[in-house]
Structures are given as C-alpha cells and as structure tokens.
Subunit: 405 residues, 2 copies
C-alpha cells in the first residue's frame, strides 16, 4: 500500500483534466493506493513539495465530472527539462526525497513529447538506483504529434474546434461580394494534424480553399499564384496555414518575428498569418485579413469532443492502473482497431519509443499539389470529433472545477 | 396583397439569420403577403435584381429552425451608403423599379447603424414620391451600439462567446507560474459593450484582470504601471481591451497600423493588442502574448445565446408585421421591462432616432479607475447570455442552411 502522485506538464489542452480525472478514478478503484496527491506546476512543483490531496478534493462523482470538462491544467504546468542522467543527480535526489516523504509508489505524468522525456529519465533513474516507484506517462497534446499512439488526447477536441470554427469563418467570409483573402493560422510547429482538421469543415459545409501543412515545403510564389484565379473571379478565399510551415531551405515563415527559443530549444514562432497577410496585400492590394486561432484552439472546453474526453479519461485510468501494478517507464496509448464502427483499445508501451520524436502527417495523406488533404485524412479525423460534452453551465456561463493554486 | 422583400446588410452576426427567420415567419402568417423574396448582398443586390424566393426555400419548419442557428448572413451583405436625397435620384429610381417589378409592398432591411440610414432615406423617398412601399428596419450588431433599443440582436451571442472565451483563456493563462501578460483584443470601434462582457467571465469563474473600453481615454503609462504589481508578484495577467480605445487626444491606439477608411468613412483599425504586446515587452521584457477574438466573436454560432436568437427572431417578425400593415421608416426595438425575471417587449420607433448615432457605455457603469465595469453592467449583461441553442449537428460537425449564392 502506497500513495499515488499525478502531475501535468506542457501546454494545456481541453482534455488534460479529463486524463487527470481518469487517473484519480483509476487510483480510487485500487485497494493498493491510499492517498492520491496532485503535484502543482509539474515536476518543478513536486520538487518544491507543492502537493494537494486530490482524493479529498474530488471525492464526489459530480466534482470529477466537472473536472473532466474544465479546460487548461488544473494542477498547473511547467516547461522544465530534467538534466541528462549523470550530469546533475541532485535534481533526481530531490524528487526521490519528496516522493519518499509522501510515500509515493506510483507517479503518473500527463504531458506531451517533452514530458515523456521526463518519464523516461525519471523511471530509468529509479530503476538504476533500486527505487521502488513506478513512473507512467499519459499523453496529451493538441498537436497529435506523439509517435506510437493512434492519436493524442486533446487533439480531437482541438480538431472539433478548428473544423467548427472554419465552417463558421467560411460562412462569415463569403457574405461580401468582394475579392478577399482570409488567412487562418493554426497551431502545430512540426506536424500539420490540427491544420489538416480544417478539412472537416469542407466535409460538413464550407471550409478553407487551401490547406498548407509543415510537412510540405512552402513556396511563397506558388502560394500567391494559387490566389490569382479566385481573386479574378471576385471570390472570397479562405486559407488554412500551419504556424510551422517552412520554406524549402528549412526556414520557418514566421521566423523573422519570433523571439528566441523555449526551454526545450524549440523556436518560438509568431505571425505566419500576419506575414502572409502582408505579402498578399503587396501582391494583390485586395481585402486581406489574418486570423490566429491562438489559445482558443487548445482551451475551448465548450466545444469538446466527447470521444476525446472519454478517451483522455480512459488513458489516465490505464496509466494509473499500470503504475499501481508496478509498470514503469511506459506510456498509455490508443490503438485504433477499426473505423466503422470506430473502436479503440488502450495499451502501454515503452516511453523511449515516444520521447523526443515527432509523428508527422504521412505524405500520401496530402494532395499532390500540397494544398489539401486526402480522403484518408478525413476518414482518420472524423471519428475523433464525434459527440459533445458541454461544460457545467450556471447562468449561461461555464462553471469549472475550483482553482487549486 | 403584395409581396415582401427582405435583405441583410453590414457585418454578419450569429443572430442575423434568426432575424431573417423571424421575418419569413411573420410574412408567412400574413394573408396580405404572397411571395417572400430575399435580396442577395443587400440593397446593392436588390438594384441588380438578385432576388430569391425564400417562401419556397424555407417552406418547412425544420429548414427555418436550421436557418435560425446558421451564422453570418445567408442572403449575403453589402456596405453601401445610399446617396443623399436629391443628389442622385437614379439609385432610388432603380430600387423603385425593381421593387415594383416584384410587386413588393413591404421591405425589411436587417442591419446596424448604417443600414438604418438606408431605411431612413428609402422610406423618406417613397413617402415623398407617393410610392406605396413600407420600409422597416430590423436591428443587428454585435457592437450593441444602436440607440433607442435596450440591446441589439447578435450582441447577446457575441457577449456569451466573449465571456465563455475569457473564462477559458484565463484558466489557460494561469497554468504557468510565470509573470506573463495576455492582451485580448475585442471588437467595438466606438462602444465598449462587447469588451465589457468579458466581465461576465469574472462573475462566473476567472476573467480579465483589467478591462479597457473606448469610453475612457486610454493612458499608456497608466496601463503599463497597472501591470507592475502583479508582474512583481509573478502573477499571470489577462487584459481585455477594445479595438476602439483612444488616447486623450482622440487618436486610436491601433491607428498607425490601420489602412484607410471604409465606405462609411470609419477608420479601419488593426492591431491594438499587437501594439500593446510590443509596449509591454519593451517595458517589462516578460512573457507577453496578444490574442484577437477576431471574426470568431461574431460568427460562433455553436455558442449562441438562446435569449439572443429568440429575440432576434421576434424582432424580425415585429418588423415584418409592421411593414405589412403599412408602417414605414421605423425600426423594431427591444424594450426591457424588468430584470428579475427578465422580460422584454417589442416595439417600433422612427428610424431617425437611431440612424447614424452611437450608444456608448454610460460612464457610471465603468469603475472610477477605468479598468473595469460595475455591478450595473453585469446586471444588464447577464440576462442576454442566458440559454443555449446549438446548431444542427451531423457527424459531430455543424450543418447550416444551404448557401444561396
């Protein structure tokens, strides 16, 4: 009998609290677990002993249900990379000390690519030093760029937001009988999954006329040339573009306006949409507008996909159950069994297969001219946006789980 | 017995099609009306005889229900100012010719401030020339800046979007334990109603720490000074700022990046948020981000207020019924009878009382320091965001009324 610790890391999503709810449920159902602690602000907060008793806070079922539909990371987050093993053991020693103090036998870390690096290093350290604490990863990222899982929690809801918003924007942009271009910038540094989900708007109603993903080199001249014909015909054009599109020589299109790199060495991008807006205005002098879906695409809990939240919850429970039974250094993943009807199963795999790798959109799922996606992509995406789970509403406004810090 | 014509003008909203549905319903219920025509792209399309038979297209009740939850302007829109009476009668003659050709006895024009100018001029022309066509205005604008109506259709849904989005953004911005500023720019050129509705997020959960409206002169030094204390305390700060904020000498904050004026002589603004982002970065060097709610705030049909759509529909019916009974040169308006329980009635008033005027937020509804709004404002706003009407969904994605052009 020991206690379980769970923490969240990386960028927030609509589904990361559903995964947290799943971890809590998984731990509550185990006789091997006493207290369920939440570490605030990721592994950094854990090192500073910022732990809260989640078992007490979420004792009632309705409170867990409310947590499931609360956006962002209820435990707070961090962007902190553990030092390479052997270079600075003091960090690992501090973590071990805190976990021992709280009698932790199972630790679940919910996060993306970089967080799986933490799971990898920490579980390896514990194994090498004979410390009996199991560390499991539970994936999340709206970018859907984790390897070895069919998709990631948070992506389905973000895709539903992107698809719905493009359908609404396309209607909005078509009201005037003017040649105009609306460039909509979607998140996704290295992978175009989220930008590709704009294609679902075309599937449902109207959507973007062109979709540009980072998986294909971006040629500005071709981009501008593609706009010529619709503009001559006085048609409004809607373009979906990933923030991560790059030129053939690997330069990010928004790079000139970026401001350095983050703790993991990723370039911080800004303004691909704004950049293209300026180029279009120069080339055509027509009405042009850029729209960033910005933070809204990762926190629009009011438009969550039921499929996404349910899977997020199930993965949290899978990770917790595995950690409780002593499995360590692994990540819970989703395997798609079939599309019609859609069915998945949940498994665990060694986290090394996932950490620090990026899953991109297959080239064969992008149209030959690089301005759209194929039916394969739509088939892949469609099941992920099914179903609605609306947040608890009070007086017409959302009511979220109480802040913990 | 004659026919009814309806057209839409100005910026699209989430509720303008609900008003269209109300006009159609009002006309369908009258024995005095034969066909119900829709003019495409406002008065400009009418002049070009671009009329469709709405009675046929929306014969079934479920099609009207779908229209009610379809965003943007189904008939298309225009931004076209009628020439001053007496300066160019050919435009008025063309309109009269088309309306006579289609045997129109009642014309309903749905739009904002500028569209009411069209209703005013056209009805005056018809009266002066003994032409027996009644012209009625039905209001819409997310800006809520029309005089003589308690509020305008489209505003309640936009306010619900803004409030919900601020609640979600505030959760998102608080996950990291870093001094950071997120500046969220909200639409509203001359009136701060929509920006003020961000305060509902604070009422429900977490929201912006500061709210800046165009009704108070914007002092950049005070703005920057207000950020100092929370940043020293390492607190994330969320700011709501109207695109229309101006300095004491009347200069728009985004003016330097604007690009001329539109057909009605309004300056086109861009980038207040971006401008403030740069100023904050220079002053504090902290993490800072600007977010534009952009087109989403006026077309997010998936987050419409039921109160708003129902009122929009009722106003459309009111305008149609008045026009059919021969009332001309008036606008349908909402009068609030009481707050608890919320109750309104629908009336018509001379459009001259409305055209080319702007209703601003009362100074007494803004806090003395100009960084927030009072309880009076929250009391005013709260009833307008009540209730949900979700669009028709197919396969987890929205299904809108069919495009007409």
């Amino acid at each position: 009998m020991g206690n379980l610790l769970v923490a969240q890391s990386g960028g927030p999503t609509t589904a990361i609290n559903a995964t947290l709810a799943g971890v809590i449920q998984g731990a509550q159902q185990s006789v091997k677990i006493g207290a369920i602690y939440g570490g605030l602000h990721g592994i950094q907060g854990v090192m500073q002993r910022q732990l809260v008793d989640l078992g007490k806070i979420f004792a009632a079922e309705e409170e867990l249900a409310c947590l499931k539909t609360t956006p962002a990371a209820l435990l707070g987050s961090c962007r902190y990379k553990l030092p390479a093993p052997g270079t600075d053991d003091s960090v690992y020693q501090t973590i071990t000390e805190v976990l021992r103090e709280y009698d932790i036998s199972a630790f679940v870390y919910i996060g993306g690519n970089d967080s799986m690096d933490t799971v990898d290093k920490l579980s390896a350290y514990f194994t090498q030093n004979g410390i009996d604490i199991a560390v499991m990863g539970a994936p999340k990222t709206i970018d859907n760029d984790l390897c070895e899982t069919d998709h990631t929690p948070g992506f389905g809801s973000a895709a539903k937001y992107v698809a719905t918003t493009f359908a609404e924007l396309a209607r909005d942009c078509h009201v005037y009988r003017l040649p105009s271009v609306t460039v909509v910038e979607v998140m996704g540094r290295d992978a175009g999954w989220l930008t590709a989900s704009a294609a679902l708007a075309c599937h449902a109603d109207k959507g973007p006329d062109y979709i540009y993903l980072p998986e294909r080199p971006f040629d500005e001249q071709v981009f501008l040339h593609n706009l010529a014909q619709p503009l001559v015909l006085h048609k409004p054009v809607v373009v979906a573009v990933s923030e991560g599109v790059r030129t053939a020589d690997g330069r990010y299109l928004g790079e000139q306006s970026g401001s350095g790199t983050d703790a993991f060495g990723h370039s911080q991008l800004a303004g691909v949409g704004q950049y293209l807006e300026n180029q279009i205005a120069k080339a055509y002098g027509c009405k042009v507008r850029s729209v960033q879906l910005n933070l809204m695409q990762r926190c629009a809990a009011h438009l969550a996909s039921a499929t996404d939240l349910n899977e997020a919850c199930a993965l949290g429970a899978t990770a917790a159950t595995a950690a409780i039974s002593g499995v360590s250094g692994q990540m819970a993943r989703i395997r798609r069994l079939q599309n019609n009807p859609y069915a998945v199963c949940y498994e665990t795999i060694p986290v090394q297969m996932v950490a620090n790798k990026v899953k991109q959109v297959p080239q064969s799922w992008i149209t030959p001219d690089g301005t759209g996606v194929t039916d394969k992509m739509v088939e892949y995406l469609l099941p992920l946006v099914q179903g609605e789970v609306y947040p608890v509403l009070k007086n017409g406004l959302p009511s979220f789980a109480p802040m913990l810090y």
